[in-house]
């Protein structure tokens, strides 16, 4: 059992929680993830570590409420417990030798992009962040990004920041200056377009993959992605890969494998919710 120490809603559908797990907090580095299970009958879901507080022994994760599992996680309050928390898993993001970088975050992916931006800043790098959201109400962590980087914000509907997607400011930055690396973290479609945008500039581009996972230790093989024509396993070989070499279209398809099941589970869960509410 792992206790939830803190809970904060970042916007209507994105929640931050801090979970008590001192040893994971001690070990986790930017880019690594945890797998959690809310309760005994729960599903195992991977969530990237958004930060740690070693003093309080806390691991911070930020999640978007999209399915039955994230719904039940979202119903947990401070002091409640979750059944399992495993980690830190995956390899930390490689940041050695990077002096100047762009960190691109999309939607809830910003939660994962933030520790990368922070870490680069701590290492003394010149960091620019490009963070994109659907609309004004969805914007999260802007202050936190400002504290460690130069920030450009975009919204699809133009209700805040620049209108359009992250590729516009990204391209502008690449036109003007030279960077050592671009880190892209967000929806697969966004990362695919970031890779297309950076390609002509020949800048190292890293994408953080978040495929379906079960064990997270290299046993089940469901986290496989095709990189440079080869089969790789995100939980042990990644989750970061060279964005120019990832088969994003295949990955997008694979992430939809259980769509019908998820819709049904969500439905059931919502009905349960309603009943309890009566």
């Amino acid at each position: 059992m792992f206790r939830i120490l803190k809970r904060r809603e970042l916007n209507k559908s994105v929640t931050l929680i801090e979970i008590e797990a001192p040893q994971i907090a001690k070990k986790a580095l930017a880019g690594q993830f945890v797998i959690l299970r809310t309760d005994e009958r729960g599903e195992r879901i991977p969530l990237t570590v958004a930060g740690t507080d070693q003093g309080r022994g806390a691991v911070c994760v930020i999640f978007q409420v999209v399915g039955a599992t994230t719904m039940s996680l979202d119903r947990k309050r401070e002091g409640d417990t979750i059944a399992d928390l495993v980690g830190p898993l995956g390899n930390p993001t490689e940041l050695d030798g990077i002096k100047k970088a762009i960190v691109v975050g999309g939607g809830v992916g910003c939660a994962i992009a933030l520790p990368v931006a922070r870490r680069l800043h701590e290492l003394g790098a010149d960091v620019r962040s490009v963070i994109g959201f659907r609309t004004r109400g969805a914007v999260i962590l802007e202050e936190e990004f400002r504290a460690c980087s130069d920030v450009s914000v975009t919204t699809d509907d133009g209700s805040y920041g620049e209108t359009g997607n992250v590729c516009i400011p990204l391209k502008r930055l690449l036109e003007r200056e030279k960077f050592d690396a671009v880190y892209a973290i967000g929806p697969l479609v966004m990362m695919k377009f970031v890779a297309l945008t950076t390609k002509p500039y020949g800048v190292k581009t890293v994408a953080s993959m978040n495929p379906i996972m079960i064990d997270g230790t290299g046993m089940c093989g469901c986290c496989r992605v095709t990189v440079d024509g080869e089969m790789k396993f995100a939980c042990v070989d990644g989750p970061d890969f060279d964005a120019q070499k990832i088969d994003f279209d295949e990955a997008i398809g694979r992430n939809r494998s259980y769509l019908a099941f998820e819709a049904e589970a969500r439905e059931k869960h919502c009905n349960l919710y309603k009943k309890e509410g009566n």
Binding site: G42, T69, T217, G218, M219, G221, S257, E262
Partner: protein, 461 residues
């Protein structure tokens, strides 16, 4: 002496009923049948069966006890050599081990040694009292992984008074016994009882603990103060064939498919874990894991399930009984057949498995006749789900995170016959060392390593 030339039949559930649920297929002998079967044993002086057993269980001795009606006595004899008899009685390939050498098998069927082992173990489980906790000798050992190797090693050490902590990556103890082997072949209740027995001996089990990440092997020794570490991390990543379409939607490794079903109980209505319920399922491979995946698919409602295997029926590596059970449950064997492509639709969903027929040519290094492609034999098996059960390659995690730990060319941990690795105080055994093998071999390796750890620690004093 009972002169019957065939084994007393094992009571099994109706194939067309059982292939729709997950309850155990074989029901086990009752006491009377067990005594009859035991009387078929000739008690040969040379006991060739014992030599066929990877852990040398004194088979004629335990069978004699069953014949006498001393079932606990039989269990005690098995327990001297085996740590998990209720499991091994169910999953060992007896026809290739003990029973292969049974003299009764020359004219007729061998003695049902596996069935008798299972009987004695089940009898013990349902009659035994709480185990006494041994007095601690004050020495601490870490065991990494709670599969057959880890459980056997932990049990053996605990009996010798060691304070053992087992670190398990998943949320349930048992390793492959809980995520891999299905309920209908090995009820999880049996694994749970074996684990409980260890807890009774004072063993601690830490779930959700991925060694290599949460703590490195080095940290287990240096920071947590364990005097020795046993690595029983099991086999690793599932293998694929490298053919087109393997990452399509509807293609799974057997490990993924079985883990969803077994560990996550995805077949139960209230489980939050999804599983793909294919209507026509093709399972590629011929081992126990392939049979398990095929029979699971059937139970999840598939209309047609195919086993696609490139050699002939004789060469199927699965236990004979599992093949028989699978066929009874209406699993179709497509033998001498090899997939060449997974065919997909425009949305990257599986629609068929393109195959070729094979014929057996000259023997290869393994002594088995090498299958060669029959020209022009291409055909398609329509399928909306393909499961790859082709074995595994070693897990890289411990290797990547443990400096100085030597591995074999293909990546398995290098260990000598006592489980000693290249690092002082670090031992290893089971699939992590041998690659995918059997439960009994892993269990045996765990036990042998426990003795080596005992000597290592005693030698330091």
């Amino acid at each position: 002496m009972d002169l019957r030339t065939t084994k007393y039949p094992m009571p099994v559930r109706d194939p067309l009923v059982r292939n729709r649920d997950f309850e155990e297929v074989s029901l086990g002998y009752d006491g009377e049948t067990a005594r009859h079967e035991a009387q078929r044993c000739l008690h040969c002086k040379a006991h060739p069966c014992v030599d066929g057993c990877p852990v040398s269980v004194m088979i004629p001795d335990f069978i004699a006890k069953i014949a006498e009606g001393d079932f606990e006595g039989a269990y005690r004899i098995i327990g001297e050599s085996s740590s998990l008899p209720a499991v091994c009685g169910r999953v060992c390939p007896q026809e290739r081990q003990c029973e292969k050498f049974c003299v009764r098998g020359v004219k007729g069927e061998p003695v049902g040694i596996g069935r008798l082992e299972r009987f004695a173990a089940d009898y013990h489980l349902s009659h035994s009292e709480k185990t006494d906790r041994p007095v601690s000798n004050g020495h601490r050992v870490a065991v990494v992984g709670s599969g057959p190797a880890g459980l056997a090693c932990a049990g053996e050490l605990a009996k010798r008074g060691y304070e053992v902590t087992v670190f398990e990556a998943l949320h349930t103890a048992g390793g492959v016994l809980v995520y891999g082997i299905p309920e209908f072949r090995l009820p999880k209740e049996i694994v749970r009882r074996e684990v409980e027995h260890l807890l009774g001996l004072g063993v601690k089990i830490e779930m959700d603990s991925v060694i290599g990440r949460l703590y490195t092997v080095e940290e287990l020794k240096r920071e947590l103060g364990f005097e020795a570490v046993f690595l029983g991390t099991g086999a690793g990543l599932p293998r694929f064939m490298g053919i087109k379409g393997e990452n399509a939607k509807g293609v799974f490794s057997a490990n993924e498919y079985l883990t969803r079903a077994n560990l996550m109980k995805a077949y139960e209505a209230d489980s939050a874990t999804p599983i793909y319920r294919g209507k026509r399922v093709a399972v590629v491979g011929g081992g126990n894991v392939a049979m398990d995946a095929a029979r699971t698919a059937k139970r999840l409602g598939a209309e047609k399930v195919f086993i696609v295997y490139r050699r002939s029926r004789e060469e199927l590596p699965a236990r004979r009984e599992e093949v028989e059970h699978a066929v009874e449950e209406e699993i179709e064997l497509q033998l001498l057949t090899n997939p060449v492509e997974i065919v997909t639709d425009g949305d990257n969903n599986v629609v068929a498995l393109e195959c070729v027929r094979m014929e057996l040519g000259e023997p290869d290094e393994s002594g088995r006749r090498r299958p060669v492609v029959k020209e022009g034999s291409e055909f398609r098996i329509e399928a909306d789900c393909v499961i790859m059960a082709l074995g595994t390659s070693p897990n890289p995690l411990i290797k990547q995170t443990t400096a100085g730990l030597l591995t074999k060319p293909r990546g398995e941990i290098a260990a000598d016959e006592n489980g000693k690795t290249s690092l002082e105080g670090v031992f290893a055994g089971g699939d992590a060392v041998t690659g995918s093998a059997t439960v009994i071999l892993a269990m045996g390796a765990g036990k042998v390593a426990a003795r080596a750890i005992d000597e290592f620690i005693a030698g330091k004093e």
